[in-house]
């Protein structure tokens, strides 16, 4: 239970990028997608709303941000799709192979894939379920969720944002790495939210449990997020909370535009830093049924005190089977106690005896990736 993906205050902007584990970057004003005016007529529910209900998944091999090798290219070639999906299939097969029982933890490959190293290899293929296919939008295999900017990457940070984040980093990095306090561990380790950005908004897939249930009533929409049993409650109409109220997941207000549910979220808490965002973060999401079993999910991220421009993108949810099981994180959170207690034990050892040579692959008291 090391900081794996987690990462204090959005490690991404601190260039501690955790490769392979989408921590959840952002998107922008999607250019009008090819399927913006779908011929498909969304089914309507008993309230006359476009019916988004059911159980959905956004599991995919495509990530928020585009790997540099694709440049400005949004769509993968068939060869690239085969390569990406094939590499994943091989990783799954390798992960499913029996482990030699004579191997010790320290004998395991230092890097066992998907960002796991050393003792974290215990969190192996049996646990993870990040999806096995490239994201298709309107049938097109995509290189990233982000469509704006054209390079598929979050836009540059403003100097003031960079400064703000460097100050945060300077203030908390040591406390994080040495597990000084529960508050300086990641939100995921503390079971306050998922690691990554499962509930969002922006809702982004991560290495497992990418399942969502949508329920619509006359005056609200509820989205049950498997991770940490978060429920997003979206009011239809009305105004946002006063600025002094900043609940986890922000405050979401929605309305329907034709076949689309539009949700605007503001009032994020300062601890829920999304790729370096500030308290001025605003996320706009658009949910549109575009085919049987498909919801087009488009998002725009704005924060004039963080980025040089709004950004955004899109992906599709696919229908999946339920039920969604309980993710009771806090109730079984032995890890947070052990991370803290382990660090204390190390400190005691360090003062009692000469420091032992660090074992290769040991997570140590550190928590660096």
């Amino acid at each position: 239970m090391r900081p794996r993906l987690a990462a204090l205050m959005a490690a991404t902007m601190l260039s501690l990028t955790v490769t392979g584990l989408a921590i959840g970057p952002a998107l922008a004003d999607p250019a009008p997608p090819a399927n913006a005016a779908p011929a498909y007529a969304a089914p309507r529910n008993e309230f006359g709303q476009p019916d988004l209900q059911g159980i959905w998944t956004n599991a995919t091999l495509t990530e928020l941000e585009r790997p540099a090798e694709y440049g400005d290219r949004l769509v993968m070639t068939p060869q690239e799709v085969a390569k990406t999906e094939g590499a994943n299939a091989k990783a799954v097969a390798d992960g499913n192979a029996p482990t030699d029982p004579k191997l010790k933890v320290t004998d395991l490959p230092y890097d066992c894939g998907r960002g796991f190293k050393g003792v974290d290899c215990g969190y192996n293929a049996g646990w993870v379920d990040p999806g096995s296919t490239v994201m298709r939008v309107g049938g097109e295999p995509r290189t990233s969720f982000i469509t704006n900017p054209a390079n598929g990457r979050t836009p540059p940070l403003l100097p003031e944002a960079r400064q703000r984040l460097q100050a945060l980093y300077a203030r908390y990095r040591g406390a994080y790495e040495h597990a000084d306090n529960p508050e300086t561990r990641s939100l995921g380790e503390r079971c306050l939210l998922s690691f990554g950005n499962s509930a969002g908004p922006v809702m982004l897939p991560l290495l497992y449990n990418n399942n969502y249930q949508i329920v619509q009533t006359k005056d609200s929409v509820a989205i049950l997020v498997e991770m940490v049993h978060d429920v997003r409650i979206i009011r239809l109409g009305g105004t946002h909370l006063p600025a002094s109220m900043r609940p986890w997941l922000g405050d979401s207000v929605g309305h329907y535009e034709g076949q689309t549910l539009v949700v605007e979220t503001t009032n994020f808490p300062p601890q829920q830093n999304f790729h370096g965002s500030s308290e001025n973060l605003k996320v706009t999401e658009r949910f549109t049924r575009v085919a049987p079993g498909r919801i087009l999910y488009q998002f725009t991220v704005e924060d004039p005190t963080t980025w040089t421009q709004p950004w955004g993108g899109e992906y599709e949810f696919g229908a999946t089977k339920g039920p969604i099981y309980e993710y009771a994180c806090h109730e079984g959170n032995y890890a947070l106690k052990d991370i803290l207690a382990g660090a204390r034990a190390q400190e005691q050892q360090a003062t009692a005896t000469p420091p032992p040579a660090p074992m290769p692959g040991s997570a140590g008291g550190g928590g660096t990736q």
């Binding site: 209900q53 306090n181 249930q213 329920v215 940490v228 429920v231 803290l340």
Partner: protein
């Protein structure tokens, strides 16, 4: 009852008959007809909350000074850990919600309950912000919201962000026990009946140490008795703990207007000092 007799005497048979005729039903009490959704089922959408002290103690109880005590020179006094709360930490009285008044524990289970009560602070899962289980979730101090459509039903609880997906198709036995269990529902007329199984043995009924085993089955019945009130019943069956099935019942009230909005009470963060404070690099003095 006395008022009823007097009323009948004053009105006489003729009056009763006239009343029955006016309501179109002879003698039988006129059942409330709830608002129905387009699919024909009663509409339970809304934010609901119990207004009783059942979460303190589901059995009848007079008010008491605290949730936890230690021996005093004259009578037990509030335990050191809670004494600073003064009157705020006291337990309000309640008539109880157990039909018949007393929970039919086996002798061993009764002793366990008493021991739980004596070790309240260490053992009540609510103190640690653990998921509350069913039926306790329904009568905590915080409200819950029902989202109901023709296809889906979801209960979202303010406390700890607990949630129950109410399934109308039985998926079979729960593959593993969980804190909130598995809820499988059906309609009996205008009553929503929910069978809850697959709960673990770690939740309690209240802050008074009342508990159950992992074998517990709960059958809940939700009936609108007027537009803004649900009559709620839950039958508890757990032979490992109780000598017979028993029931609780109470009203759940609709929160209206500006009160009808579920807030967020993600209390995990609030118990970090309690649970992890001693493991800080520099524990607070």
């Amino acid at each position: 009852m006395f008022m009823g007799l007097k009323w009948m005497a004053a009105w006489g048979l003729a009056g009763l008959l006239a009343l029955a005729s006016a309501s179109g039903a002879l003698a039988a009490p006129q059942a409330f007809k709830p608002h129905h959704l387009p699919d024909g089922h009663p509409d339970f959408n809304g934010v609901w909350q119990a207004m009783n002290s059942a979460n303190y103690d589901i059995e009848p109880h007079t008010a008491r000074a605290a949730l936890a005590f230690r021996p005093g020179p004259v009578v037990p006094v509030p335990a050191k850990e809670v004494v600073a709360l003064g009157a705020v930490g006291a337990v309000p009285a309640g008539l109880g919600v157990v039909e018949g008044g007393e929970i039919p524990y086996t002798a061993a289970a009764k002793a366990q309950r008493d021991d739980n009560r004596a070790h309240y602070l260490e053992r009540d899962p609510e103190v640690k912000c653990y998921l509350p289980g069913v039926p306790r979730a329904n009568y905590m101090a915080l409200p819950f919201q029902i989202f109901q459509s023709a296809k889906e039903m979801l209960f979202a609880y303010e406390y700890a962000g607990a949630v129950r997906n109410i399934m109308f198709t039985n998926p079979g036995p729960a593959p593993i026990d969980s804190w909130m269990g598995q809820s499988v529902a059906h309609w009996e007329g205008d009553t929503l009946v929910v069978e809850v199984t697959g709960q673990n043995d770690s939740t309690w009924f209240d802050r008074a140490g009342n508990f159950h085993s992992a074998d517990m089955k709960v059958v809940e019945r939700y009936t609108l008795s007027d537009p803004d009130t649900i009559r709620y019943e839950a039958e508890i069956t757990d032979p490992a703990t109780f000598t017979r099935p028993w029931k609780i019942s109470m009203n759940l009230y609709r929160r209206k207007g500006e009160d009808a909005r579920l807030q967020q009470f993600k209390c995990v963060e609030f118990v970090e000092e309690l649970m992890y404070g001693q493991y800080r690099k520099e524990p607070l003095k």
